[in-house]
């Protein structure tokens, strides 16, 4: 009897956690499990002629082909080239905007904040179509301005410029979001710190460099990791612009390669294996980035 009463625990916490746990299982664990299951199988044809495809267990065969896929490595290199532009520019602009908005006596604050944030509300595909217009020479207002001025117009789809063109779409869309996160963190800082700094004779520049940025470290780490993950997941911008130019192949970045395997070549099994690998890379990279940031933050404090 006594053991039974001691064992009885209140049910409420479990009940309250249950919906979240169920959702987690339904929309997270099961799909991941299914993807792993798929990645270990493949369609193979039995019989002659047209034959009939049947699902068979192939072990790690899909992983071996995914690792040996040279197109994937080319896609990774292109993604890195894109990320080298996208991540620092996004973070730099977001931080600059947040610091500028935080300076006292700057007018039109809420308007500027909204204007910078607004592009975030535009879906990636629509933004890409929009920018596509600007990039296509025959319809581009930019090209028109250059030619009217008698200058050579920029080629937005060149071998190098294409990375800037695609990164630009993502930067335009994500600076606002990152800025809001950083700005909110700035607003949450105690005003006494600034007052003390001012009494000590610090200028706004010094306050920004010596006080605000170090205090922003946690928010900067978080937004940087988001941007890194955003880089790994780049898909809709190049995929939408692809139909407008010969410079973007259907396997331009890793997710496009996975899409191609799954939905153009109809091999969802290989596609699942590649996805699992990419997910692993994402997790490892995020952990590594966090570790580096934490280490540096600890050292500086």
């Amino acid at each position: 009897m006594t053991t039974a009463t001691r064992r009885r625990k209140p049910a409420a916490p479990y009940l309250m956690a249950a919906p979240a746990v169920l959702l987690f299982i339904a929309f997270f664990l099961i799909p991941i499990g299914y993807a792993i299951w798929l990645s270990l199988h493949a369609m193979r044809v039995r019989g002659r002629g047209f034959g009939v495809r049947t699902e068979v267990f192939v072990g790690l065969e899909n992983y071996i082909s995914a690792i040996g896929d040279s197109a994937m490595y080319e896609a990774l290199v292109r993604m890195l080239a894109y990320g080298v532009i996208m991540v620092p520019v996004t973070m730099g602009l977001a931080l600059s905007f947040a610091l500028m908005l935080d300076v006292p006596k700057v007018g039109l604050k809420s308007f500027s904040r909204l204007a910078i944030f607004l592009p975030y509300a535009v879906p990636g595909v629509i933004a890409s179509v929009l920018w596509g217009f600007t990039y296509l020479p025959a319809v581009s207002p930019v090209t028109r301005i250059f030619t009217e001025a008698g200058l050579p117009a920029p080629d937005f789809f060149g071998d190098v410029s294409i990375y800037f063109s695609i990164a630009n779409i993502a930067i335009w869309g994500s600076v606002g979001f990152n800025m809001v996160v950083l700005y909110t963190a700035l607003r949450a800082m105690p005003a006494e710190v600034y007052e003390a700094a001012k009494i000590d004779g610090a200028s706004e520049w010094q306050i920004a460099w010596k006080i605000k940025i170090p205090l922003l470290a946690p928010a900067l780490i978080m937004t940087s990791v988001f941007s890194l993950i955003g880089m790994l997941q780049v898909f809709s911008e190049p995929n939408t612009v692809k139909s407008m130019t010969n410079s973007i192949t259907p396997d331009w970045v890793p997710l496009m390669r996975i899409y191609q395997q799954g939905f153009i070549e109809n091999d969802i099994y290989l596609s699942a294996a590649t996805s699992v690998l990419l997910a692993l890379v994402t997790v490892l990279l995020s952990l590594a980035a966090l570790a580096v940031f934490r280490f540096r933050a600890r050292r500086s404090s």
Binding site: V52, F133, N246, S247, T249, N266
Partner: protein
């Protein structure tokens, strides 16, 4: 027994069904091993299609067949539909009827997703289509779809600009090449046309015209010839013109293409019969300025064209109402009223009776310079030849072309080398999947 229990269940519904189907063929389901059941039994069918405004044709069916309702679900076309449909079959919630492009059929068949309709196709249905059209939906002696629309290719050109510049319509590809250079010399702002490298369906139409046979299946083993002589001749022709700058190499269907088609930068477009509908949307201000002519020929003495696009109506293996589904598919593509409705929404019906001027009516407004547009189109359609067969991995072949050809245009490299690479990719994939390869 089955019939009686159904009658008992809803005799009124059955009566209605019988009335509604007065003008259709009677329940002619004889010894049918593949398609079982009563095609006149009440049904609720789900139909996946992407053709614009096809709801109008479905509505027509629903008014005439109150006990056999068809519910349309609009879907995206091509690869996306194929993946979605295959997934749905696997998940057990596939539609009963699906609009499937011809080149997608082999992929669907080998995935065991399409019902064999051979036994459901009676003589009347069979004779409603040109025999060649059945080749598009029949594989290994069995028919898996009712042909819906075809896209015989033809050459659209700006008649006003051709007249103004003193050009005549090229009869051969050689003349086409000469004209491409002439256009550049006369007006450096203009191009004869653009070669859009990312459209494998368009490319396969050119290959068909040149006489290519990309796939064949003899003794149950596959032969792939994506790099055959005809394809290479065709690719080297386009490659020469694009790489020398005589033609544009930009993709079509972009905002830029729309503007170039409208402002006279591009003055011709090799397309298919449904291209008139596209022109209406893209160049609304050019009514009566476009005309269509047969495709340029590889040899002045012959007359051939290829197919670009086109689709069929098929029944899924998982459907529990296959007989009724097959009946709807047959009606949709061969009934005179349905054909008229299909033509009205811009599809060029595959059925012979659907290609006459009476059904198709006046030419689309954009082609008003050519009152006999549909007569011309029908004559061109008769010269169309397709591949002997589509391959079981056409999607992989298409994907490889769409991957490599844009890069070849960008880097100005040899187009025929692309054909060799695509050939390797296609063959390797077939072997990997376990097909017998000759």
């Amino acid at each position: 027994m089955r019939r009686r229990s159904l009658l008992a269940a809803s005799s009124a519904a059955m009566l209605l069904a019988a009335c509604g189907n007065g003008d259709d063929e009677g329940g002619e389901n004889g010894a049918a091993p593949a398609i079982e059941g009563d095609e006149n039994a009440p049904a609720n069918l789900v139909f996946w299609a992407w053709a614009e405004n096809i709801q109008q044709v479905v509505d027509l069916w629903n008014t005439k067949n109150p006990t056999q309702k068809v519910q349309l679900s609009g879907q995206a076309a091509s690869d996306e539909l194929v993946s979605k449909f295959l997934t749905a079959v696997k998940a057990g919630n596939a539609p009963d009827v699906v609009q499937a492009e011809y080149q997608a059929l082999p992929t669907l068949i080998t995935n065991n997703a399409l019902a064999d309709l051979t036994s459901a196709i009676d003589d009347r249905t069979r004779s409603a289509f040109p025999e060649g059209t059945w080749n598009l939906t029949s594989f290994g002696g069995a028919t898996y779809g009712i042909p819906q629309d075809v896209g015989p290719m033809m050459l659209f050109y700006r008649e006003d600009i051709f007249t103004e510049m003193g050009f005549s319509v090229p009869k051969t590809w050689e003349e086409f090449g000469v004209l491409a250079k002439a256009v550049r010399q006369k007006d450096p702002k203009k191009y004869l046309t653009t070669f859009s490298p990312g459209d494998a369906g368009w490319l396969s139409g050119f290959a068909q015209q040149a006489g290519a046979k990309w796939w064949s299946n003899t003794d149950d083993a596959w032969t792939v010839a994506v790099n055959d002589e005809a394809t290479k001749r065709m690719l080297s022709f386009w490659g020469g013109l694009v790489n020398s700058g005589d033609l544009l190499g930009d993709p079509m269907y972009t905002p830029q293409w729309n503007s170039q088609m409208s402002d006279g930068t591009i003055i011709a477009w090799p397309s298919a019969v449904w291209g008139a509908g596209v022109l209406t949307g893209v160049t609304p201000g050019l009514k009566g300025k476009w005309k269509a002519a047969p495709m340029p020929q590889w040899s002045a003495s012959e007359q051939f064209t290829g197919f670009w696009g086109g689709s069929s109506t098929a029944v899924s293996t998982s459907s529990s109402q296959k007989a009724q589904a097959a009946k709807f598919a047959k009606w949709l593509n061969s009934d005179p009223e349905a054909l008229a409705a299909l033509a009205k929404i811009g599809l060029y019906p595959a059925a012979s009776a659907g290609q006459t001027a009476e059904v198709l009516g006046n030419p689309p407004e954009i082609m008003s310079a050519q009152p006999d547009y549909y007569t011309t189109a029908a004559a061109i359609a008769k010269t169309a030849r397709g591949f002997d067969s589509w391959g079981p991995n056409t999607n992989v072949t298409y994907g490889a072309f769409e991957d490599l050809l844009p890069t070849a245009v960008k880097n100005k490299t040899d187009f025929t080398a692309v054909a060799d690479q695509v050939q390797n990719t296609s063959l390797e994939d077939l072997k990997k999947q376990g097909y017998q390869v000759a």
